[in-house]
Subunit: 374 residues, 2 copies
Amino acid sequence: MSLSFELLGTDGPARRGRITTAHGTVETPAFMPVGTAGTVKAMLPQSVAETGAEIVLGNTFHLMLRPGAERVAALGGLHKFMNWPGPILTDSGGFQVMSLKDLRKLDADGVTFRSPVDGSQHRLTPERSIEIQRLLDADITMSFDECTTWPVEEPAAASSMRLSMKWAERGKRAFVERPGYGLFGIVQGSVFPALRAESVATLTDIGFDGYAVGGLAVGEGQETMFATLDTTLPMLPADRPRYLMGVGRPADIVGAVLRGIDMFDCVMPTRAGRTAQAFTRRGELNLRNARHRDDPRPIDEHCACPACAHHSRAYLHHLIRAEEILASMLLTWHNLHYYQDIMRGLRGAIESGSLGHWVAAFTREQDLGDIPTL
Amino acid sequence: MSLSFELLGTDGPARRGRITTAHGTVETPAFMPVGTAGTVKAMLPQSVAETGAEIVLGNTFHLMLRPGAERVAALGGLHKFMNWPGPILTDSGGFQVMSLKDLRKLDADGVTFRSPVDGSQHRLTPERSIEIQRLLDADITMSFDECTTWPVEEPAAASSMRLSMKWAERGKRAFVERPGYGLFGIVQGSVFPALRAESVATLTDIGFDGYAVGGLAVGEGQETMFATLDTTLPMLPADRPRYLMGVGRPADIVGAVLRGIDMFDCVMPTRAGRTAQAFTRRGELNLRNARHRDDPRPIDEHCACPACAHHSRAYLHHLIRAEEILASMLLTWHNLHYYQDIMRGLRGAIESGSLGHWVAAFTREQDLGDIPTL
């Protein structure tokens, strides 16, 4: 029943696992490209799969507003709609609804808000969020929660977390169990260990197929984020996958895997790909910079993506300056490929018990900076 | 020496041929996708090749301004720069320079103009146009000419044509012969048969590797365009390829092949792909239209492109409404694939002597209109 998680091996707190869903398996640690509106921006779904991604994330908020969850269901579900036959995780819509600020009204039962697309009024409750995710046919459904703001005082963080816990319980009751489909709870409590502990205890009492750590990467900084993971993760059951939401830069992902996180999502590689930024083994490159104008080298001669296999930095720079769509296509592909290279590296290192060496080499290489230009 | 053209067969005035260039062969009749700024917009070059295109067009005007012809040459030429190992034809820059209106000054020797990119001053002469095309490493170089405006009186058309003929002769002197590389002359003279005849006589006296028909598809209408081809094409040597510049819609291409044209280029399939328009066997579709919102069918169930193989009209409509880059990618791919399907169909029909039947079926199907929606 539901989805299954096998813990295949560990190296310290770091875990090598496998999630089996209705639409296939996911080797962990895994990075999920974000496919907000039913497309990983600027990528054919076949190309996303070619980078090594096995699961993508869909956004409940965007899809409920356009084209609408009932429409996606009538068209055969999100897998068919976007031609992604593999596993899909959907978020709950909570994060985006809360970000609407002036356009939303929160009450104990849910959130009423105006669509930024057409101004129409909508309502999200824990039950409706779960229903939408079922209509989308998500393999992994996320509990509807309030993402606690940052910075925040402990009392406000506590009441926000306790509201999310009530909503998690309602979501669990609303979730219809199906083989290969699962529901994840989201640990809140900001940076306060006692609140995180209370949240973990509540969620594990309810019982979920996996546990996400929410409310991080909101401005607290990497050190505080890692400290929160250090106190939170040991409290989570070892036999369920752990998902750090919205994280992050390569070094954030590596540090979180070291601490026992299994799953990640982030818009960074795709968004950066549309704004001339390339992530590489040796740090970040801004290809818009004039120093790349005559550079015949690829972004990274060791990268197997089409941008690196076939194109020079000079060409990518030209495409960016000429505002060509191909610039977004090639840089997005490169960034997603590099992120999957990191995940492949981490999985291999955990398997072979060499994670410490792998991380030392990763850190050293990132710190070296780009190969000097011509 | 230079490039070669084999006439493999005919069906009435229609011709089935093969052009052999330094970078490979082109089966004709051929449609050349336009790769203005060193990229066929929204397509990976591999994907352009997958549609069946064997040659692409590059724009001298755009490339000389950005990134610059000398830069492209230093980076190994346009084939390497844009990762298109096959044949490339470049235009002369004339058409775009003449369109600048207020920003250009024409004299008997050439054109001085301001760059729309950065306002810098540039000059194009017949000799400089040929030099730029050599720096780009074009397999087929086009003569620098003045594209005669429309509408135009005969005296103005005559002096414009005679200026282009002088420039054609200067270009021929400037062109450096290399094996597999060729120079095409451009027949001008607007819709006036006597001027077209004079232009053909002048160009064939000079001697070119191929002949383009210029100054059409500028507003004169399909009937007038075909009438001009009917009088012009029989005067051209049968053993050289004939290229109708900037044409066109599917029915324009079919009609021009019937009259003996071998090569085409047009921005229509790519530009339409970025504005929600799909060309199909049964006419044009605007996928932005709300009637496609719930339509589970592909654009065309008989089309083998990725848009048709994997995606519904409803999904494409959604991507267009959400302003997703993938909409441009998929629709451009479909349109280019459909254009190449037409060229494959025309080539096969000429080979088998069944062009009349093929054209009748093409016309009937186009006139049927779209398959009724659900």
